[in-house]
Amino acid sequence: MTATAAPARPVRDHRRPLGLRDAVAAELIKLFTVRSTWWFAGGLQALLLLMAVLDDGGPTSARSLTVGLTAVSYFGQYIVAAFGLLVITSELATRSITVTFAATPSRGRVMVAKAVVTGIAGLVLGGVATALGVGTAAARHGELPRVLGDAAEQVAATGVYLGLLAVVSLGVGALVRRSAGALTCMVLLLLVVPEVLHLAAERLDEPLLDTFAGWTPAQAGWQLMSGRWEYVLVLVAWAVAAVAAGIGVLRSRDA
């Protein structure tokens, strides 16, 4: 009898079945142990600060809020979309998803754990980046005390939007399974689909298509960041649908 491997002695009760909490904790370690997370965080923050310095925000009563809104809608959301989809496509590309599934055989649990971690990360990254960006812009335009309340609401709304968007993107990543393909789909969904719907609404004189365009994630996000919180429901629906579809694909296919 050689003592090649001393018995593992778990600290916490090791008989208790593993659950979502364990999967979430593992995903959290994954998030903090790859450099790409910091690239995305740094990129988003740099973008918001750059826009705060360069963009005048136009002739509005609160220029700093406009700067934050445009920076996220025109550029920032694509960074967050790329972040969200890579959470799953990087594992599919390296085949390390097989190791993940060996550790957590329930693919639904893996995907939900990823959604929790990705959503919180998107919320925190988006919220912090917006707070610093809008704060810088407000200081620059001398609006700081006056817009503080609205700015706080915008920071919260932007965090919620980017968190949910990251989850939508994660679901699309699981559906498409390839980084490049999933990113293309996200750009189409955020940018092209609403434009096409608006054009079609105009051509066909059908206002319902405009309504549909308003329900696409980017346009719902714009509304949310502008203070219309009911659009959270639209984004939650997108997130739930994308994750459910992603789980369906992960379950139906061999890993």
């Binding site: 593992a8 097989t98 599934f101 060996a102």
Partner: protein, 316 residues
């Protein structure tokens, strides 16, 4: 008293892998065809077969990565998905390169440890066990194949599982590493664990495994102990002596080798010796020619070699 408590009959009820009529098809290709197999504790079972024979597919199905078309695979009497702590029940290495290249080896193991509620201290222990302590904080993308294999073996050992399943574990290891893993696998089996390894290196398998499972075209060709398999193959004789020509004429296929010894395939020493005695020949040496596992394997799989790319194999 302690050894009585840990008596084998009780232990061997668990810790085994059982496949029943396992079939896996990928479209028109049948990768595994009605495989029934039982892997028992206390043995190193070698898993042999040509490329496309279905070895990797079988292992993937056991881990629940691929869904079987029909049949069942049970570990400790349960399907993989029902194991309460999978990595503490069965440790597997299927593809050493299936690691995020940007994450360090240590962090890779930390993720797995946390997912199973294994204490973090165990990570340092298995890293030391596989000799990866110094490389543990480098990113996995910089590892050689041998280092990746060691990390994969560390991951398999992380949960101190009673069942180990390794696909081509010596692939990419240096001679020291090959000897190390041979010793490790044997000692794990000696502790009563179930060890299941596939390999293309027949000579290596001959030294490590004590049971052999051979597959070809998705079917089971042989399931035997190494000793039985080799004994069954021992059919020839080698004879030395001053004047063996009459003996050579007595056996079809007999020929002289480079050293001047007479090789008699298909006849055991008893038969050759009796004939030499009858012919009144002087004999200086007479021994059985044991066919190596490689010869036996080649003969067993002769008809079963499938041309590459027909079936889904890890690592292709």
């Amino acid at each position: 008293m302690d050894s009585f408590v840990r008596a084998r009959p009780i232990r061997s009820v668990h810790r085994m892998i059982r496949l029943t009529e396992l079939t896996k098809r990928y479209g028109p290709t049948t990768a595994v065809d009605g495989l029934t197999l039982e892997l028992r504790p206390g043995h190193v079972t070698g898993f042999l077969g040509p490329n496309g024979a279905g070895k990797s597919t079988t292992m993937r199905v056991i881990l629940g990565l691929d869904a079987p078309t029909s049949g069942t695979t049970l570990i400790d009497g349960k399907p993989y998905a029902r194991l309460s702590h999978p990595l503490r029940t069965i440790g597997a290495l299927l593809d050493a390169k299936a690691v995020h290249p940007g994450r360090t080896g240590r962090d890779h193991l930390r993720v797995l440890a946390r997912s199973q509620r294994i204490p973090a201290a165990r990570v340092a222990k298995v890293l030391e066990l596989v000799g990866m302590t110094t490389a543990a904080d480098r990113r996995a993308g910089t590892y050689s194949l041998g280092m990746s294999q060691r990390l994969g073996i560390a991951a398999a050992l992380l949960g101190d599982p009673q069942v180990l399943m390794l696909d081509e574990p010596v692939n990419g290891l240096d001679p020291d590493g090959v000897r190390w893993i041979r010793t490790l696998l044997r000692s794990l089996a000696a502790e009563g664990r179930t060890v299941f390894i596939s390999s293309h290196l027949m000579s290596e398998m001959e030294q490590t495994a004590d049971r052999v499972v051979v597959m070809g075209r998705g079917r089971l060709i042989a399931d035997a102990s190494m000793a039985d398999l080799l004994a069954a193959a021992e059919t020839g004789s080698r004879v030395r002596g001053p004047a063996l020509r009459p003996l050579a004429h007595a056996f079809a296929g007999a020929r002289l080798d480079d050293d001047g010894a007479l090789l008699v395939p298909g006849a055991p020493p008893r038969e050759v010796g009796a004939r030499a005695f009858a012919l009144g020949l002087e004999i200086h040496g007479l021994e059985a020619i044991g066919s190596s596992l490689e010869d036996t394997y080649m003969r067993l799989t002769d008809d079963e070699v499938q041309f590459p790319a027909a079936a889904k194999e890890i690592g292709q």
